[in-house]
């Protein structure tokens, strides 16, 4: 038997009994990043497949929201920094080895592009909003169109983006995949936390992010075909997610003691109910079943599975951020 105790005072917040310096802001940031990645992935993919008129919400309207998601996520990240006045240092360096670094650059590029993307569709967005009766958003869009007519630089910018839209679509598609993977790799880069340190976390977070993206479209679109398609896509994504989750836990179980200990957090430990009942049960399996019913023709309001997926995705990130920090090598 070996027992280790701290013999001198170390009255430092966030280190004992285990590291706890990241909380809900980081989890929310990861959630919003994944959601934005999912929305942009569908928007660019369907645009490149020539579906911009069949799936107007997916291609044109949903991306309007991504700028706000990404911007709010970035604000949360800055809010969580302890040395805030120096946050600009993030952008005076590019360090490929540090996920936090290339993630910040990806986020900055995505936020700019996700502002320009809907701007380039501004006329048809105005048309859509008007028909749908979303008055406030419509008013803002009309104001932007007026600005476009009055202010030449804005007009040039929009024209430029329109002309090279296809190129930007490819770029944005690539960046959205990077963004989605990044939200997982940010955590999996930490060896010191066995729960995070597995290579499936990147793909898992990407899949979960894309799933929340499809749920978002499913929830807010008013086009039956679009909703149904997103339902089917989301079902497959949830299946993949479940597979990744089982794979992740089996991987930890097969690992050294510290990794088994990490798996125990979900297998009888403190997070068991949160993980299996709340996240897997209500955030994955239930919406999956509801989507199956819906596709089979039963009447299920699409907002129900969509909101379950969205809330589930958020809770999943909260669980991973908190549980991951509790998973450490036995140490003092």
């Amino acid at each position: 038997m070996e027992e280790r105790i701290l013999a001198t005072a170390r009255d430092i917040e966030g280190l004992y009994p285990h590291v706890h310096i990241w909380g809900w802001p980081i989890a929310t940031y990861l959630f919003l990043g994944g959601l934005a990645a999912g929305i942009l992935l569908f928007a660019t993919l369907y645009y490149l497949n020539g579906k911009e008129n069949d799936m107007p919400f997916t291609v044109k309207i949903a991306p309007v929201f991504t700028f706000f998601f990404v911007a709010f996520g970035s604000l949360l990240l800055i809010y969580d920094l302890h040395h805030k006045p120096y946050f600009w240092r993030l952008f005076t360096a590019f360090r490929i080895e540090s996920p936090m670094s290339w993630g910040a650059w990806t986020l900055a590029s995505v936020s700019i592009l996700s502002l320009l993307w809907p701007l380039s569709f501004v006329d048809s967005i105005e048309d859509y909003l008007h028909r749908r009766g979303w008055k406030r958003m419509d008013a803002i869009t009309r104001w932007i169109i007026r600005m476009e007519h009055r202010w030449a630089p804005l007009r040039w910018l929009i024209m430029f983006f329109r002309r090279y839209r296809k190129l930007f679509a490819y770029l944005l598609l690539f960046l959205s995949i990077i963004l989605g993977i990044y939200t997982g790799i940010l955590l999996s880069a930490f060896n010191a936390h066995p729960l995070w340190n597995n290579s499936i976390l990147g793909p898992l977070f990407l899949t979960s992010g894309v799933s929340t993206g499809s749920a978002f479209v499913m929830w807010l679109s008013n086009n039956k075909k679009e909703r149904r398609l997103m339902s089917i896509i989301d079902m497959s994504l949830i299946a993949v997610e479940l597979f990744f989750i089982i794979h992740m836990i089996m991987g930890m179980q097969a690992g050294p003691e510290a990794y088994k200990e990490a798996a125990r957090l979900f297998l009888g430990g403190q997070f068991t109910v949160w993980f299996w009942v709340i996240f897997v049960g209500f955030g994955l399996v239930l919406p999956f079943l509801l989507e199956v019913f819906e596709v089979r023709g039963f009447h299920v309001h699409p907002a129900v599975p969509a909101l379950l997926v969205l809330v589930g995705g958020f809770i999943f990130r909260i669980i991973m951020v908190y549980a991951g920090q509790m998973s450490e090598y036995p140490f003092l």
Binding site: L6, M100, A104
Partner: protein
């Protein structure tokens, strides 16, 4: 040059002088400390053994803290000493998450702080404050690349261990058994 530290667990009595010396030398804020003493109890009554470990940043050979730092504030200087440049640090905490040894913390001013191996003293040819103050002379600081240094000789002749080698960081604080 590869600086390292060896601590003789046979001599350490856990007095904590190294902790106080570091706090004084480096102006560590009240309640905080860059080094600390861990009491290790092994075995079962009546065969119980106790020893102390004076712990601090291991100035690892493979540094996850430097790797994950987005700004380059965490870096390695001559001799393998791991340091943080305060006004490049944004206080994101990535390095704190990356270190398996709890060696880093947020200074009340926001940046990340940790043991520097007293590089300002080492540059003048002195030992780190903790080493020079130890009343039992249980700590040795020196260059592992020099086969004749006291620390190289000790590591050749005495059995030793490092903390959490399984974390894969190649720590450079050695504990002599």
């Amino acid at each position: 040059m590869r600086y390292a530290m060896a601590l003789d667990t046979k001599k350490c009595v856990g007095c904590g002088d190294c902790v106080v010396a570091c706090q004084t030398e480096n102006n560590v804020p009240l309640g905080y400390s860059r080094d600390w003493i861990t009491e290790v109890v092994k075995g079962q009554y009546p065969d119980v053994f106790l020893h102390f470990e004076s712990q601090r940043c291991n100035h690892c050979e493979d540094t996850p803290c430097v790797r994950t730092c987005p700004t380059g504030a965490s870096h390695v200087i001559e001799g393998g000493i791991v340091k943080v440049t305060h006004d490049e640090c944004i206080g994101c905490g990535a390095c704190i998450e990356a270190c398996p040894y709890d060696a880093r913390y947020f200074h009340p001013d926001g940046y990340v702080d940790k043991c520097t191996f007293c590089d300002h003293r080492v540059a003048d040819g002195l030992d780190p404050a903790c080493v020079s103050v130890c009343p039992t002379k249980c700590m040795y600081f020196g260059d592992l690349d020099d086969p004749d240094s006291e620390i190289s000789q000790l590591l050749r002749t005495r059995e030793h261990y490092t903390l959490l080698p399984e974390a894969g960081t190649a720590p450079q604080i050695y504990y002599l058994k």
